[in-house]
């Protein structure tokens, strides 16, 4: 079972035709076409139409198509959802999600739009962006608010302001929020995505932050520029040691199945389903990172 990878999610300003036409060539796992913060209030309609027409006309290959619509409390969200569902979006990302209610309201809009546009019910998934202390405290209830949810994300800029502090290189001000979000995501069985790193001239800073959040358990990170993608993917690439172990586990599990055994032992430890799944995921990540698994000795 190959779970969707979301190591990198590239933001694309929705009202910019030059950027909208081929962002997928840089190889992100997901594209987030943005109708929210990168679009001026007077241009919301134009951005919506541009992303709508682009999604319908352009082949973005295998890259997941996410749209960040405007917030639930705006006058724009109704048209945003109707248009993006009709355009064929894969995931709708709701900014400023505060509570489960917001998700339920969004689901209502999506359901109506799926019907109106002839898409199968349940096809369109949801991501929730948590941007305030209340949202972070409500992370779990948000994460389980709908089976359509595939992930929750931290959006740090507004969060840090509400916390009455500032962003720092070490990120201590985000530590609790990140921890809660990852835990909520894991408890709900969905993904956790970290916030953007805005200093494009500081590759070391980006790598440091990516390594930290990977270690914390995040599945990926939002990025704002294609140059950040190879750096983030590098951090999420498995080590040769991890690949080696995973190959052995997957091989052992295959052998067990062939012999009709429920479980098997490897190196004195029982290998049950979660361990096999994790190993399979490591190999998926390795392949996605362009590594040749066969070249790593088992």
């Amino acid at each position: 079972m190959i779970a969707k990878l979301r190591r990198s999610m590239l933001f694309v300003p929705g009202n910019n035709p030059a950027l909208v036409k081929d962002p997928h060539i840089y190889g992100p796992d997901s594209l987030i076409f943005d109708l929210e913060d990168s679009v001026a209030p007077t241009e919301k309609d134009a951005a919506r139409l541009l992303v709508f027409c682009a999604l319908k006309a352009i082949d973005y290959g295998r890259v997941e198509k996410v749209v960040r619509v405007n917030g639930m409390d705006t006058t724009w969200i109704g048209d945003d959802v109707a248009a993006m569902v009709a355009a064929g979006v894969d995931v709708i990302r709701l900014p400023k999600t505060e509570r489960a209610e917001d998700i339920r309201a969004l689901v209502g809009l999506i359901e109506a739009a799926e019907k109106a546009s002839g898409r199968s019910a349940g096809e369109v998934r949801i991501m929730a962006a948590l941007e305030s202390p209340l949202a972070v405290l409500n992370a779990y209830e948000i994460a389980v608010a709908s089976p359509r949810l595939v992930g929750i994300a931290l959006s740090a800029e507004d969060f840090v302001t509400s916390m009455k502090t500032t962003r720092s290189p070490e990120g201590v001000e985000l530590f609790e929020a990140r921890g809660r979000i990852v835990m909520a995501a894991r408890a709900a069985g969905i993904m956790a995505i970290d916030t953007v790193f805005t200093d494009l001239s500081d590759d070391e800073g980006l790598l440091r932050e990516a390594r930290l959040i990977k270690q914390m358990g995040f599945d990926g990170k939002s990025v704002i520029n294609p140059s950040q993608i190879p750096l983030v993917h590098g951090v999420f690439a498995p080590t040769p040691e991890e690949i080696r172990k995973s190959r052995r586990i997957v091989a052992a599990a295959a052998e067990a199945e062939a012999r009709g055994l429920g479980v098997m032992a490897l190196d004195g430890k029982m290998i049950d389903k979660p361990i096999v799944e994790r190993a399979a995921r490591v190999l998926d990540l390795a392949r996605a990172s362009g590594m040749k698994i066969e070249e790593v000795e088992a």
């Binding site: 036409k21 081929d22 060539i25 840089y26 520029n225 294609p226 140059s227 040749k292």
Partner: protein, 511 residues
């Protein structure tokens, strides 16, 4: 017997020597001594002239002749316009203008074309208003577009010979020793100018950096120069090239550069002692950044780098990653400084660079060259001279020379620029024939010339994803749609000369 002025008797003739001329005084016969250049009369000769107008007068330039310049000052050149204005003032007309290249700063030449001062142009490149004008029929005679190597060949063969070469130099002494690596307008190598100095009948050096004698070592020696003219400025340093050339940060160009390096690596070119050249376009130049990283990681050194040189290469020379730099044109101040101070940074002239008839042409030793393109077609022919609207806007330069000479020739381009496809069915103008191009690298895929089955196998084996050039063409078409074809007139306004002197394509007037 005849008598010399010193009272000695000498025979009137002697065997194979024929008639003998008796000595008539130390300087009596100076004007008559055969020499490729007019020898000056008695006394310590002064080559220094007051101003450009005097230089035009003393050069012996007449209507109908050929006049040449170099383009080492690029977009910052003042010399061509300054001299052509003086020539126009002198009432000289019907000239063949043969600069090594022209840029958009030379727009004032349009007026000289209209008024008949210029009848014909031979140049590697044309840009801006002049190029636009020529594409719309400004001149009656077609311009001749030649490569850098082709120009050197033509000068050597004599098929193109300047009567007068007006050469700007940032540093020159009163006897004519000129070089490009010193002075406030330092431009580095004078590689193209050296060919003019060697083959022109009369050589005039214009300088804004008159030095004491001797300004040696020199690029152009005192033995080749007839006149020296001090002027205020040969060019604008900002246009000549300040500081260091920046490597692109454009994600698309970096993507192309990474794809290019993967192809180079897969082709097996990167061994200790390899040689390379890149163009200066965004993606080509960015290849150097990734190449350098890989060379450091693998402990590989290049034997030499050729070009068209930028600060990145000068820096690699300093670092010891490159054994020597052969420099025919320096693109920025850092490179000029390196040329001035580093023994392994060597100026070469255009003959040595790329003349197809030169037994020591450096391009023949290249292992890999990375070149840009305006258009490439499904036969891998390359256009670097006209836009897809048919208007002249580029230069042949060293493109066909290096593509032919290099063991591996890679052309890089984004598949689509805004709505203009770079991969087309048929290029508007062929400058480099497809048989010289091995690989095309774009941001949407890499294609190997079917002639190179060996390369295709090597890249595939290394896991480089390959596309047919037809696939890339169709992808480009699916993005841009099919434009209306360019509306050409019947008149030929340009001839593209291949490096060997044959004509590879004709450029028609655009309606």
């Amino acid at each position: 017997m005849s008598r010399t002025t010193l009272g000695r008797d000498i025979p009137e003739s002697a065997g194979d020597l024929g008639r003998l001329a008796p000595f008539m005084g130390a300087w009596a016969r100076a004007e008559g001594v055969s020499a490729p250049r007019k020898l000056l009369s008695a006394g310590r000769p002064s080559k220094v002239l007051e101003n450009v107008d005097e230089a035009v007068r003393r050069s012996g330039l007449e209507s109908g002749m050929t006049v040449s310049f170099h383009h080492h000052f690029r977009e910052g050149d003042y010399v061509v316009n300054l001299v052509m204005d003086a020539i126009a003032r002198a009432g000289i007309r019907d000239l063949t203008l043969a600069p090594s290249s022209l840029s958009s700063i030379h727009a004032p030449l349009v007026e000289h074309c209209r008024s008949g001062v210029i009848r014909r142009i031979c140049s590697s490149g044309l840009r801006g208003k002049l190029a636009d004008g020529i594409s719309h029929g400004l001149l009656d005679e077609p311009v001749l577009i030649h490569s850098h190597g082709g120009r050197a060949r033509a000068f050597r063969e004599g098929t193109l010979r300047p009567d007068v070469a007006f050469l700007g130099a940032p540093s020159c002494d009163p006897y004519g020793n000129a070089r490009g690596w010193a002075g406030k307008s330092a431009c580095g190598s004078l590689g193209y100018a050296r060919v003019d100095a060697r083959y022109a009948r009369t050589v005039v050096v214009l300088t804004d950096g008159l030095e004491d004698y001797p300004a040696l070592p020199a690029s152009i020696g005192q033995e080749l120069v007839d006149w020296v003219v001090p002027i205020d400025a040969v060019g604008d340093p900002k246009g000549i090239g300040v500081g260091a050339t920046r490597i692109s940060r454009d994600p698309r160009e970096l993507l192309i550069a990474r794809n290019t390096l993967a192809a180079i690596d897969a082709a097996g070119v990167l061994h200790d002692g390899f040689s390379f050249q890149t163009g200066t376009g965004g993606a080509s130049l960015a290849v150097i950044r990734y190449l350098r990283e890989l060379m450091i990681a693998r402990g590989i050194k290049a034997s030499f780098c050729l070009g068209g040189v930028t600060s990145q290469v000068a820096h690699m020379l300093e670092e010891g990653l490159v054994g020597a730099v052969l420099d025919v044109q320096s693109f920025d101040a850092d490179t000029a400084r390196s040329l001035a101070s580093n023994r392994r940074h060597i100026e070469i002239d255009a003959n040595t660079y790329a003349d197809p008839g030169c037994p020591g042409a450096a391009v023949n030793l290249l292992d890999v060259v990375v070149l840009s393109a305006l258009e490439v077609d499904t036969d891998f022919n390359v256009n670097v001279i006209t836009g897809s609207d048919g208007v002249i806007r580029g230069a042949s330069g060293g493109h066909s020379d290096t593509a032919a000479g290099s063991a591996l020739s890679i052309v890089v381009a984004p598949l689509v620029r805004a709505r203009t496809a770079s991969v087309v069915d048929r290029v508007e103008t062929i400058v480099t024939p497809g048989e010289s191009v091995d690989i095309l690298v774009t941001d949407r895929g890499t294609a190997v010339n079917p002639r190179r089955k060996d390369l295709k196998a090597a890249l595939a084996a290394a896991g480089v994803e390959l596309r047919d050039i037809q696939e890339l063409r169709e992808l480009a078409r699916s993005i841009t749609g099919d434009p209306d074809p360019v509306q050409y007139g019947d008149r030929v306004v340009g001839l593209v000369e291949y490096r060997d002197g044959t004509i590879i394509d004709a450029i028609r007037e655009v309606r």
